[in-house]
Amino acid sequence: MTMKWTSGGMKSPLSRARGLGSAKSGSHHWMMQRVTAVSNAVLGLWFVWSVLTLANADYAIVRDWLAAPVNAILMILFVISSYYHAVLGLQVVTEDYVHCEGLKVIKLMGQKLLYTGLGVACVFAVLKVAL
């Protein structure tokens, strides 16, 4: 199992260094897209339901809701799962549509940095409310 998920053994040094595109670290990427798809499915339904019931609520009620440990933990899990899934997904889309190698590298880095930054900010926000 471990062997299947790690990559690098069959690559040229250049492709290992660049680490982009198809058949480079594909199987791990593919598997993680599916793992996060499953967690997104469960957590996403919980999230939609929560938004639905809180949409008209006052500030204090929403804050108390997020401060409850169960909700804080599920929200952090949803943030991690959805941001990770989005970065993986956007990477494939960018690899498919951006053909200029330089722009592609810049864009992939930009996407990852942006989503990592906002994801950390989200987790911090939840902790600030809950702790």
Partner: protein, 145 residues
């Protein structure tokens, strides 16, 4: 994209034959089919949801920042304009959700024949519609409309 060019000289019959050769499945000239439409919608909704994560971030940060910030967030997304956008995102979520489940089923090798593909696509569309409508019916029922 230009068509593959062969010899430029030749009779008009040869030209005609050349023109009528089947073209490669390029996006602009390829007839949309249920498989391709279902697939591209999964991608489009995935990208839309990825953009929606910025709204999630805005909401969580506003909630942590205080009552004033949260009021701005709530006023914007509670407006008609905001609700129309949220309606779109709810459909994007449920479409991507159903189509994602379809992906996971097909990853196991099931429903890979033509009949199965059609069935899976129709289940995806119906599921997305029912879940989206159900969500908004619950919302409006709870808000006392």
């Amino acid at each position: 994209m230009s068509a593959p060019s062969g010899s430029t000289s030749g009779s008009s019959a040869a030209d005609k034959a050349k023109r009528e050769r089947p073209l490669s499945p390029h996006l602009q000239i390829y007839k949309p089919q249920i498989t391709s439409v279902t697939s591209i919608l999964h991608r489009a909704t995935g990208v839309a949801l990825a953009l929606g994560l910025f709204v999630l971030g805005w909401g969580l940060i506003a909630l942590a920042s205080g009552e004033g910030s949260y009021a701005v967030f709530k006023d914007f997304w509670g407006s008609i304009f905001g609700m129309i956008l949220l309606f779109g995102w709810s459909f994007a979520f449920f479409y991507h959700f159903c189509c994602g489940l379809r992906h996971l089923v097909m990853d196991t090798g099931r429903m890979m024949d033509i009949k199965g593909m059609y069935k899976a696509a129709y289940i995806t569309y119906a599921g997305a519609l029912v879940l989206t409508m159900g969500t908004w019916i619950v919302y409006f029922a709870c808000s006392g409309y």
